[in-house]
């Protein structure tokens, strides 16, 4: 590489240092202050883990967390199934009637302000209830439907881009050998796109666990998710048990992302090795 654009590496390193400090200092400050004895949160009063104990005595937070986790798991599964269908249709089916419409409907929720999506979903649920009596009231069902609608777009984008970069010849070979499309999908395509499905599932799970605005619109008076409880608490200012909760959530997510990353990288290596062996085998047969 020529010297002309390589001798400015200090500029790039300082850009990265500044950028990552900006991204991570707030997160680190949350974690550090969760171990603060003082109720004032940002005034250091010595090391303590008492806020973690207080957190597990708080029934309201525990109930909300349990509801959020259940919604997030159902949502992630539903969104992954629907998003995989949409992603596959967009990546593999070429031109079909309604393609533009499907593209629009899967990408628009990604940028749509949440107040609009939330309000319109609620209006839909109210209208449906008047019309056919379902869904009865609002609660876990409506929250889950709303979250699936939002997160299936993320899965679609992930699956579509993964399939677009995927070598189609494997699937064609299976078809040539007489496998039905469904069988090709479950035996050839699915194992290859499995990492994309895993990241889609995890992303849907975390988005659902975190969503406040859409959830507030479609949740009934009886159902409060974790973000709704957090929001009503932090509106009144900082609160040390929220810092403890944040630390737990951040640690879980970080561990999850790292484990998923390692698993995916290992699978990728295995697959590449298998492919190389297969290609080497083919060459051996020819000679």
């Amino acid at each position: 590489m020529s010297k002309g654009f390589n001798d400015r590496s200090w500029l790039r390193i300082s850009a990265l240092a500044f950028g990552f400090a900006f991204l991570y200092v707030p997160i680190l400050s949350l974690i550090v202050y969760s171990f603060n004895k003082s109720r004032l949160v940002t005034v250091w009063g010595g090391f303590s883990t008492e806020w973690y104990g207080k957190l597990f005595d708080n029934d309201q937070i525990l109930q909300a967390a349990w509801l959020s986790l259940r919604v997030a798991a159902i949502n992630a599964t539903g969104a992954t199934i629907l998003g995989t269908c949409a992603g596959m249709a967009l990546a593999r089916f070429g031109k079909f009637r309604g393609r533009t419409m499907l593209t629009t409907m899967t990408t628009a929720p990604l940028v749509m302000p949440e107040v609009i999506t939330g309000l319109s979903l609620l209006m839909m649920f109210v209208a449906l209830e008047q019309l056919i009596g379902w869904p009865e009231g609002r609660g876990m069902t409506t929250i889950t439907i709303a979250h699936i609608t939002l997160t299936l777009s993320y899965v679609t984008v992930i699956v579509q881009s993964r399939m677009a970069s995927l070598d189609i010849s494997l699937e064609e070979a299976a078809m040539d050998l007489g496998a039905r499309p469904a069988k090709v999908f479950f035996l050839v395509t699915l194992p290859i796109i499995a990492p994309a499905l895993l990241s889609g599932w995890l992303l849907s799970f975390t988005i659902s666990l975190d969503d406040l605005v859409i959830t507030s619109f479609v949740a009934g008076p009886g159902a409060s998710t974790l973000p709704m409880v957090i929001f009503s608490k932090v509106r009144l200012g900082v609160s040390p048990d929220i810092n403890a909760l944040a630390t737990i959530m951040i640690s879980l997510v970080t561990i999850g992302v790292i484990v998923a990353g390692v698993v995916m990288a290992r699978q990728q290596r295995h697959r590449e090795r298998d492919m190389q062996l297969a290609i080497a085998g083919l060459k051996d047969e020819k000679t």
Partner: protein
Amino acid sequence: MPMHKLPFVTSIHSLLARFGLTGRAAVIAVPYVWLLLFFLIPFVIVLKISFSETAIAMPPYQPLVQWVGDRWSDIRLHINPGNYLYLWEDSLYVRAVINSLKVAAISTLFALLIGYPIAYSIARAKATTRSILLMLVILPFWTSFLLRVYAWIGILKNNGLINNFLMWAGVIHEPIVMLQTDFAIYLGIVYSYLPFMIMPLYANLEKMDLTLLEAAADLGCKPWRAFMTITLPLSMSGIRAGCMLVFIPAVGEYVIPSLLGPPESLMIGKVLWTEFFNNRAWPVASAVAIALLLLLVLPIVYLQRSQARDAEGAA
């Protein structure tokens, strides 16, 4: 036993095929119908409600169509443009829209100025470090948005991290008021949406042909000039995508202005929330939503066009 050898499955296949319902059609239809039902039709309902009158009832609006007798001619249509006139006449809403556009535009500009050097530096890093750096950009996006915004309260408030540090260092003697200001809103938006800016910029800069820069350097072009005449124009599609991904959701942002901004801050997302939750004015809230949607249709279409163009270019 292979699936297609089962007689039962085969008969279902032929039955479905008779109605034109192949597996392929089902794969398209399932997400299609879902999105039609829970994404597109809801907008039509919001549009309908935005033309109805507020009522003290549940739901709190009057039906648009009423049958006053039992013949078809007894249909009465109540189309009420009053909600839109109200939005137009009460200067609060117009000011909120203008302010939201301003806040979103300025935040987007700062996100670009901060995000571009980061994306550029990652794209030009060694391949081995690149994936780690990329992971570090994405990781905050996986952690709770609400909690990351909350973190800034602890940093910005009067006895928060920054003020405590500056007072301890003796730079200031009175705390600087940063929380509940417009500055905090800008900061919150730039911080929360920065990964959305970096990712498309990175994707664009990473696939750039570096030999162009080498050629320019060989011909005696200064690095800065090479950047301005080659790298920057070539990364325009990434800049467009990143800016739209930040700008569009920022216009309707609710959480950041309500946690970090001043109580009287006028953002259209906050106004909609108040109309709906505090005033229970569903028709007015619907009219605000439709107005906001109309405002954002152009940027959304623009984003989708430019992404479709990029996808074609890559294929």
